[in-house]
Amino acid sequence: MKRETIINLVLAALLLAVPFIAQAMGQTFTITLATRIAILALAATGLNIALGLGGLVSFGHAAFFGVGGYVAGILSAHAFSGEPMVLGFEGTRQMLIVWLVAITAAGLLGLLIGVISLRTSGVYFIMITLAFAQMVYYFAISWPAYGGEDGLSIAVRNQFPGVNSMRPLNFFLICYGVLIVGLVLSALIKASRFGAALQAVRQNEVRVASIGISPMPIRLTAFVISAMLTAVAGALFADLNRFVSPSMLSWHMSGELIVLIILGGTGRLMGPVAGAALYVILEYLLGGLTERWQFFLGLILLGTVLFARGGVIGLLAGKVRHG
């Protein structure tokens, strides 16, 4: 078995084990931290498909994360109040339906943003994705029906069939399960012909054209899949906090997702998980010592970029797979 595979399995097992140990010790807060790691890892896994495999540095993935969150919040709010939405739909508190709507909404938004932004590359692509995300952010702020700047509360966490999602360990297991599905999807994409073509497009567009591949549809598909996965993470994040606000849509969030990937290892399957774990643990440990904990995060990020470009996974598993 390859060293990276062993590290991946250990990491997955650790993330699963910690909440059970915390439950046994009565430390509910640790379960919440692990849940946060799983959700952020899922969002970053989504972005990693576009960024790690496709080389698309999207600085607007907060839009998809936030759309997922707002879908969960809005559907839940209507289901709770009984006030009908458009077309008489009364909202829902079922996570599976929430995820489906979030995936559809983010997919359509991803398609719109992708069709326009993927005509550019480099810094222009970064700026256009950022601009779109900011447009969604300001739209949310100026939409008083759903809380505007104050955000929207979710009175009771959405439901999952046969599971009491209000119990922290249960909710963690839901998030962990979705993360595993996301990781398997990501691995399948990477191993597929589509994944090979996506990575080839990243390496050389002209060369790819000479073997009959048009870069645009490949990139657009990756971008849309990436948006959909990030939106599911957004819906779970809203359920975790039982609150959704425009901060989920802000450019800080987009930056945070990129930081997670760089810390964990760009293009590595478990890079987002390692990055999210490191980020959340640092936030918890250093955040307890100083309000300026992000200064230290900055130093770690600098060190990663300068000395460990494969991130945590690259450091542990050796040879960088994607240069």
Binding site: R193, Q199, A200, A209, S210, I211, G212, I213, S214
Partner: protein, 227 residues
């Protein structure tokens, strides 16, 4: 007629490289595109693939005009290119390089591996870590995986060790026997002429001679190829 290049002129910015190249290729034919360095062979190939679109003239592939088609559509029509300098995807494995290009047809991964058994041995190795010869085999294999009707080889054996060259030429002969149309640019006349059905000679961006290899006299070789 599989390929019909009609009086094309191509420019690099303001500098004209082709002044009227024309030749035709039938299905199943192997054509050697010849000429000294800088005479327009690679530019002609880039023009056929529309990687360097001609400013005037016309190119037909299987009766379809290619000039207004983007490069990926020209490739999908059935033009498989092995570019000069073995340009693989360095950060993809041998397997990924091959499957990324795959299109349905007679050429499958198994057949490519049969043609170049070394590629099967190096399946999971990164393309950047292959030897020059192996990279060239990969470049040919990748072009074959697109199931082309016309394979274009631009200096496929340049800079390779003699043993590896023999492997490449053996593969080219196998492909010819298989009925594949091949447009080949190469400096090794001793290998090129026996495999070619016809030769097209370029000088200063113009077609100056075309004929069968047996009519390419020593005098013509001396005049146009500088040998």
């Amino acid at each position: 007629m599989l390929l019909d290049v009609q009086d094309i002129t191509t420019f690099y910015g303001g500098s004209q490289a082709l002044f009227g190249v024309e030749f035709r290729m039938a299905e199943g034919e192997v054509v050697a595109l010849m000429g000294r360095n800088g005479m327009g062979k690679s530019t002609t190939i880039k023009s056929i693939c529309n990687l360097m679109p001609p400013r005037s003239g016309r190119i037909f592939f299987d009766g379809k005009e290619t000039l207004r088609q983007p490069p990926h559509k020209v490739a999908r029509l059935g033009v498989g290119l092995v570019p000069e300098g073995r340009r693989c995807f360095p950060n993809l494995s041998v397997y990924e390089n091959l499957v990324a290009a795959a299109r349905p047809g007679r050429w499958t991964l198994e057949r490519v591996n049969d043609l170049f058994p070394r590629l099967a041995e190096r399946r999971d190795q990164m393309a950047r870590s292959l030897s020059g010869g192996e990279q060239q085999m990969l470049a040919v294999g990748r072009a074959l995986m697109t199931n082309p009707r016309l394979l274009i080889l631009d200096e496929a054996t340049e800079g390779l060790a003699p043993v590896i060259r023999q492997d490449i030429w053996r593969a080219i002969r196998t492909l010819k026997d298989d009925g594949l149309s091949i447009l080949v640019v190469d400096k090794t006349l001793s290998e090129l002429l026996p495999v070619a059905d016809r030769c097209v000679v370029l000088e200063n961006g113009r077609t100056v001679w075309a004929g069968t290899p047996d009519t390419l006299s020593a005098e013509l070789q001396d005049r146009y190829l500088g040998i």
